[in-house]
Structure formats: structure tokens, C-alpha cells
Symmetry: C3
């Protein structure tokens, strides 16, 4: 079982079992490896047809081989990587793609039909561009990056190596900036770019605006979910995570390893410290310190929100208790008179 | 008036009036049929130029023909269907589309220019694919389905019959799953698919992620609005409705005929029972029973929310009343001493 | 310094300095003009390498030329416009675009590869259509309008002059309307259009639905950010601004010069008066008068929300004070007995 080596596990039982796939406990068939991390699924252990199991500690009630690892969820991610089908690639450069002559194209690229690569764009080695991808003038795409269908990367933007951009994303649209002149909104030209560093993954239909000046900067290892909005001049620190439908307003500075929950919003020019956690649907209107965990709108420390959120539904009761006190006090004051 | 038969109505007045279109009371011209459902528009009855009217009960103040039906809104939907222009179709398969040889294409399809159909994809009969549509490898599209421009349907996903997918949607992007290894986020390969059953309609720029394992499943008759996010391994039950900018987190199980309001959010692994109603902007953090109607964040029963929401704006008043009581009690305690 | 004339400023110092670019105080190099509007950046004045400065009043501590204007932010917008690179244009009509014969194309258009223009569509003079743009049958596009990549404009819609539509937008998808027939949702055909007037700018991946009847109407000078949803039959008044991830429900009528904050939501059929301000993340459930500023969900006047929002986090404290009063009153009532 080569896989045990890859996930750095210790095998209990048959070391020679041949593994050909990976699946959940209830769906695995013979020859597949599965994983046991959630004790709620203990009952599946007896019935599973999986030929091997990734576990954090040896389990009873299971007859197959066990691979004991320190972090079964991580081991699962790595094991699944072995069996994941490779990204589909077009063989070479399609004659139905349009590639401007002044661009520079690396070796072993896969360029599907209906791709457009603009003037002086630079495409690295082993890059994959799916149909409908638009690469603007002077855009640079790093090695091994995969860009899925109908993505638009506007002029001058920079995308690093080993980046994945899912379908429908827009990178480098103009930042949203106007000045009023009477009733009219005068556009502030957006002269900067978007820079996306290595190992970033951007979810489907996400939008990232170019800076007014300088750059909107998505640092190494950032992962965004679908339909996320990142405004002009924002910085997102290394390895931070942004969940679906969250929005980061202009010039906000997000630290590293930060988590921003789904539908959360961050005000413009705010700083979020390293490893802070912004809960789902939180509205952040002020600076959040490193390591803080906040929830609610306006956002507040997690423990406080737990109490507050349970009291919101008790407002009618609070109001009734207050009225009752008022009546009792009125009564006792009358008595005193 | 053929139309009366189609909407199963009883005609009062001229049965032979010829109807050539449908419009609202104030905008209808001669030859058009209109409808009267909202009593706020009673004043329009005298002035409308409509030659016939769909009503739930005979009305006075109107001279044209009346078609009495039990459900005028439904009758309007069916009548408007008669006059709606057919979906524009390209005549056959454009030579500017790229269709891989190993795909299987049904009869009477309409494939516009700039469509890409991948390897071993299966396209049913009478399907319409608009420009910029990407159909990934091994994707299956059922009969009569219409896919509007710039939609991306990623490898292996299954789309049923009579489905409508509006422009810019992404079906089958990777689910959002990572495991931390130190500071690094290790991607959990997303090995499953998206399955969309018959008669579903998906709003513009909506995103539906493929499952980690198994399927993300949109069941028969579901309708989503624009910019909706549906995460990996979610199930949406038959005939449910999701309004714009709502987000359903991973592995949530939504029942049948559920309504999810605009900008509402549903936590991961939550169950929502059949026919539940999640109000607009509600934040659902726990299981909702069948038939329940909830609002607010955290979500609560509708009636409770009605009281709570009116008290939120009264918090300053509640605080003042509390302070006043404290002062009065302090006074009376002093007196007692 | 020609620029002083364009921004209507008065020059203090060297009138003949040659300006070749624009940048922020800290990043400007010799030959560039910068601007000083935010007193927090006063320390940069001494160190900046900018050769000239746009200011509202003469400043000390700066050696270069100064251009004094009444509104420096507006002056900056206009000055930046001078140095902004022109929008990239394809030279003429690409042979890789597909343009139906019955369409009418203006003079000096720029039509990139992979554009589709439908039957009887009308494209004005000097229009730019980026790759992946879909122009539906009978759509009309006004002079000088720029449509960025992968935008879909569905049949019959009307787009004015000098409009900018950023990448990935969907204009004219079907409005979201159904009538229940038992458990089934019967589609209400959407027979109207979207009309976008002159000088509008629409942010990336925004969706605007066609009207059920008549038109969804985006009036002159409106600016929307990314990922905004505008439902069927909505009207947005002149020069209004909609920030990212906000959603306007069906038939809402928005006045002129209104600001709608990020992630805010407006209920269907609501009226918002001219120059009203809807704060970020506000939930608007009822009519808002002209000039009103509201925040919160449910939305309330700005000043009230300031007090309410600070009290929400104090709910545990309010609850404790109430309990303490109850105990004290219980005590004093006991004493009395």
C-alpha cells in the first residue's frame, strides 16, 4: 500500500492490499480506501466495504487494513489527491484560439478553442487556458496555472504560479471610485493592477478590482470561495480564506491566515490582524486584532455574540419584564403615598 | 377566444373577440387581453383599452369581455406563455462552434457559434446552446434544455430535460474544501459531480459546486434566482425556490417546496424541512422543521421576529426606561433608609 | 502646466514644470503630479518626490509647484483622466467574430474575436465589444459604449451612449416570476426588456433582469459596483450609486442620486426617494423618503441606528441590570410585607 507512505501512516493489518480508489465509508467498494474521522459515523465501520481505512487511532469493529495517521482529514486530502482525475487539457494550442503575435507563450501550454490572448501578454509553461478565457494586453500568467472557462483577466494584471481561477471570474475590472460634481458622478480613473501570487485559488464568478493606484494584492496561498467581491487596493495576506458572498471594501488590509465567513462584509480602510476569524454574516466596521474571533453586525467578540444572539430573540420577554417592573414600581410608589 | 379554453375560464361578454397580445391594465391596447388581480388598480378598469380581462369574479366598470378563472395569476402566466416570443435559436450547428468528435449530439439541436462541447459529452435532442457555452468532458445535457450565453458546465456533470440555465452560470466548479497543514491550506480534491434534474431553472451568474464525493443535487422543478451560491454536497428538494444572493453552505439538505429569501444564508450540514419558508436576509444556523416560517439572524419563528424586529429600534427607549427604573428604585431605597 | 487649466486651478510656484504622470504622495516620482486631501498624510509632504501637488489651500513644507483648486478630489479625478491609458481596442472587426447579416454596425467600431452579434441588432459608432460578448437579437448599443469580455446582453434590450459594462455582466435575463399550481412552479413569461440610459457604468458580474412587462430601467449616469442584482421592473433614478452585493427586488422604484451601500437589500415594490442614503448591509422593508439616511436591518434613521447598534452589544448587560432590578424589587416588596 504505497499510499501509506505518501500520507505518512503506520499500517495495521494487510500491508499488501491494493488500493484503486477512495470513497466515503458508506459508498466505498472493495479495493477502495476510506477514512474515519467523525465518530457519528461509527456504525458504518462494520458495514463498509472499504479495503482499508485512514484513522487517527486503531479502531475495533473493522476487518480491513488500517492506516494510522496523526491528522486523518489532512491524510484524506492527500490520498484523494492521488486518485483525483487530472485536470482535462486541450492538446496544445487550438487553431480556434486567437493569440496576438506580440504575446509570449511558454512550453507545453494547453490553450482551448475560443481563448483570446492579448498583445504583449506572457503565458508561462504548462499553463491551461479553458474556452472563453480572456487574457488582456500585457497580462502575465505564471507556470502551471489553470484558468477555467469564461474568466476575464484585464490588462496589465499579474497572476502567479500554480494558481487556479475558477470559471466566470473577473480579475482587474475597474475599482469603484467616483467624485460628485454637482449631481454627476465623475469617474476616478483606476490606474493600478491586480497582483495574484503563487498557489492562490479563486472561486467561480468572484470579482477582484484593479487598484486606483498601485495594486490590489492577493498574496500567496489565499483561497476564495465563489461570488466573493474584493475591491480596489485591498491586500489579502498569505493563506487567508474568504467564504462565498463575502465582500471586502476598498483599501481594507487583511492579514495572513485570516478566515472571512460567508456573506460577511468588511468596511473600507479597515485592518484585520493575522489569524483573525470573521464569522459568517458578520459586519466589520472597525479594526480587528490578530487572533480575534468576531461575529454579529456590528461585529463583536465571539463569546459576547453568543450571549447577545440568544438575547435578541428574548427582546419581547425583556420588554414584558420591564413593563411588569414599571407597573410594580408604580404600584409600590402609589402605596407609599 | 381560444385563450379562454387554454386557461379554463368562463367567458362573460363577446366570445368572439380576437386577442393578439397580453399587457397590464394601463398599457394594454385594443386587441390585447389584460388581468385584474390587485384591487389597488380598480381605477384602471374604466380607462383600460384592453379588449378582454382575466378576473376571479365578474367586475363592473368594464365594457369588454371577461374571462372568469379560479386563479387569475396562474391564468395570466399561462396566457402570457401563448404570446411570449419563442427562444431565439441558431439554425443547426454553427461551423464556428467546436465540438469534440467523441461527443454525441442529438437531433434538431441549435448550437450557436463559439460553443465548445467536450470529449464524450452527450447533448440531447432539441437542445439550444448559446455562444460562449462551455460543455466539459462527459457532461450530459437532457432534451429541450436551453443554455444561455457564457455558461460553464464542468466535466461529468448531469443536466436534465427541459432545464433553463441563464447566462454566466457556473455548474460543477470545485467545492470549497481545504485542510490546514501548518499555515498552508491543502486542497481536498472534489471528486463528485453536480446533478440537475428535469424542469429546473437556474438564474444568471449562479454558482453550483461539485460534491467532494457523490453529488450536489438540484431536484426536479427547483428555480433559483440570480447570483445564488450552492456549495458542495447540498441537496435542494423538488420545486424549491431560492431568491437572489442567497447562499447554501456545504452538505445542507433543503426539502421540497421550500422558499429561501434573498440574501438569506444557510449554515453547513443544516436540514430545512419541506415547505419551510426562510425569509429574506435570514441567517439559519440550525435545523428548520417542515412548514416552519423563519426570519431574522439568528433566524426565529416569523411571529416572534415580527415582535423582535419592532423592538430592536426601541432599544434606546428600553435602555432609558431601565435607567429611569434604576433611578426611581435608588430613590425609593434611599427614602426607606 | 496645461493640467492646471484643465482642472481649473491656480498655480503657486513654477508654472512651467512638465508633468508626465500622476501618483500618490508616497509613490510619486519626479515629473509626476500628486494630491493632498487627507491631513493624515501631512508627513508625506516633506518627503514626496512629486513635482507638483493638487491642494485645496497652499501648504507649507512642500517645495514643488502647487495647484490650488476648490475640490481636490474632483481635480484629481480629472487629472488622472488625462494620464489614464486609453481603453485597449481591436483594430476594426475581427474575422473571428460572428456578426449576423441582418444587424447594423456603426462606423469605427472595435469588435474583438469571439464576439457574437445577433439578428437585427444595432451597434452604434465607435463602440468596443470585447471577446466573449454576446449581443442578442434586436439589441441596440449606443455610440462610444464599451462592453468588456464575456458580457451577455439578451434579445431586445437597449443600451445607451457612453455606457461601460464590465466583464461577466448579464443584462436581460428573465425576471424571477412563478405562480404555484399545486406544488409546481409555473413560469410567468418575462415579456419586457432592460433599458440602460447614457453614461451608465455597470460593475463586473452584475445581473439585471428583463421586466415581466415594460422595462427594467437604469437611468442616465447610474453607477453599479460588482455583483449587484437588479430584479425585473426596477427603476434606478439618474446618477444613483449601488455598491457591491446589494440587491434590489422586483418593481422597487429608486430615486435619483440615491446611494445603496454594499450588501444592502431593498424589498420588492418599495420606493426610495431622491438623494436617500441606504447604508451598507441595511435591509429596507418600507418606503424611504427623499434625503433620508437609513441603516440597520430592519432599516431605521441613521442617528437612531448609531444608538441602537451600540446597545445591541449591551443586551447581556441590559438583561443583567433588569434581573438585578427584579431581585431588588422582590427584596423591597418582601420587606414591605
Amino acid at each position: 500500500m504505497e499510499i501509506a507512505g505518501i500520507i505518512k501512516g503506520k499500517v495495521i493489518g494487510d500491508e499488501n492490499v491494493r488500493i484503486t480508489g477512495i470513497n466515503s465509508l458508506d459508498k466505498a467498494s472493495e479495493g477502495e480506501i476510506s477514512f474515519f474521522v467523525d465518530t457519528r459515523y461509527r456504525d458504518f465501520l462494520k458495514e463498509t466495504k472499504a479495503s482499508a481505512l485512514i484513522v487517527s487511532a486503531p479502531v475495533e469493529d473493522y476487518k480491513g487494513a488500517q492506516v494510522v495517521v496523526s491528522d486523518p482529514k489532512l491524510a484524506y486530502a492527500r490520498a484523494a489527491g492521488i486518485f483525483a482525475p487530472p485536470v482535462s487539457r486541450y492538446d496544445g494550442i487550438s487553431k480556434n484560439a486567437v493569440i496576438e503575435e506580440t504575446s509570449a507563450i511558454g512550453v507545453n501550454v494547453s490553450i482551448y478553442p475560443m481563448v483570446y490572448v492579448g498583445r504583449e501578454a506572457v503565458i508561462g509553461d504548462n499553463v491551461t487556458l479553458y474556452p472563453g478565457t480572456f487574457i488582456g494586453d500585457k497580462v502575465r500568467i505564471g507556470d502551471r496555472t489553470v484558468i477555467y472557462p469564461n474568466v476575464s483577466i484585464m490588462r496589465d494584471c499579474i497572476v502567479g504560479k500554480d494558481v487556479i481561477i475558477h470559471a466566470g471570474c473577473v480579475i482587474g475590472s475597474d475599482g469603484f471610485g467616483y467624485v460628485r460634481d454637482g449631481s454627476e458622478n465623475v469617474k476616478i480613473p483606476q490606474l493600478g493592477i491586480v497582483q495574484i501570487d503563487d498557489n492562490v485559488e479563486i472561486g467561480a464568478n468572484t470579482t477582484i478590482d484593479r487598484a486606483a493606484n498601485g495594486r490590489t494584492w492577493i498574496k500567496r496561498g489565499v483561497k476564495t470561495d465563489n461570488l466573493v467581491q474584493i475591491a480596489h487596493n485591498v491586500t489579502i495576506g498569505e493563506d487567508s480564506i474568504l467564504v462565498s458572498l463575502s465582500g471586502i471594501s476598498g483599501s481594507a488590509q487583511i492579514g495572513r491566515e485570516v478566515v472571512i465567513g460567508g456573506q460577511a462584509g468588511v468596511k473600507d480602510h479597515i485592518e484585520i490582524g493575522d489569524r483573525a476569524i470573521i464569522g459568517p454574516r458578520a459586519g466589520v466596521h472597525k479594526t480587528i486584532k490578530s487572533g480575534e474571533m468576531v461575529l454579529g453586525d456590528p461585529s463583536m467578540p465571539y463569546r459576547l455574540w453568543m450571549r447577545v444572539s440568544s438575547l435578541i430573540a428574548k427582546l419581547p420577554e425583556i420588554n414584558d419584564r420591564l413593563r411588569s417592573l414599571e407597573n410594580r414600581l408604580k404600584g409600590s410608589e402609589k402605596e407609599e403615598k
